[in-house]
Symmetry: C2
Subunit: 156 residues, 2 copies
Amino acid sequence: MSKKVWLAGLSLAVGMGYVAAAHAQAKPEVLIKQRQAAMTLQGKYFGPLAAMAQGKAPYNKDTVARNAEFLSVLSRMPWDGFAESTKDEKTVKTAALPTIWKDADKFKQAQEHFEHEASKLAQVSKSGDEAAVKAQIGAVGKACGACHGDFREKQQ
Amino acid sequence: MSKKVWLAGLSLAVGMGYVAAAHAQAKPEVLIKQRQAAMTLQGKYFGPLAAMAQGKAPYNKDTVARNAEFLSVLSRMPWDGFAESTKDEKTVKTAALPTIWKDADKFKQAQEHFEHEASKLAQVSKSGDEAAVKAQIGAVGKACGACHGDFREKQQ
């Protein structure tokens, strides 16, 4: 790679504020947007699976396998965004409840439970056993719901 | 899994609008938010790597390997969000340029190039060859920049 190209890559990173962000602790509003981005994408890839599990969309094993793989990775992404520094941040709208920081151990358990179920779905989706896959989609949905029930403002 | 638990998972999915979204083609504003979420997370995981490549942050092979794995998966997520239906959507602020749809082949090539470089970084990051990893971080940054240069409004 030429030096010019390499410098272009670096300029880009600097221009995007990535390098600055990596230097210092990321700002609370950035952390909130990043954790919300992870949740948004979890929704994108879980939605079609829930529809299939309910028989409201045709079962497609390739979509299941791909979405389950994505979910398994996405399930690991939101948590460092719930830093203590974001607790009192008011510039970004968030449904995060104070219990996240008050009951940090329980929140951690809920994270790990979701990661475990999502990882299991990725495994089960390779088996081709449709009934087992649908049951595991339900388990993932339950893990989402348990965490939202305890740690997220009730949605209208 | 009990039927009650299963139904709770389904209710959750319905409550989140996931199932509805999976039924019909997702709304343009949803697609835009989803593709922006993928870009936000790419930024989250690329930033620290760019800083390391520049020697502005200490090199950490575990962070590199994790971030590279995440980037490799995230590199596949934004593209279906650039559906034709989003071209004229005005309710969500977007920097996407009309060239995305006018020069769809070139946009597709840029996507594939970025996916390729991100996937290669995930491979190289397992090798432990720091110089090779840093060079490949530069190649990923170049792929980001090439696509942004052609298809994204210039950022202030």
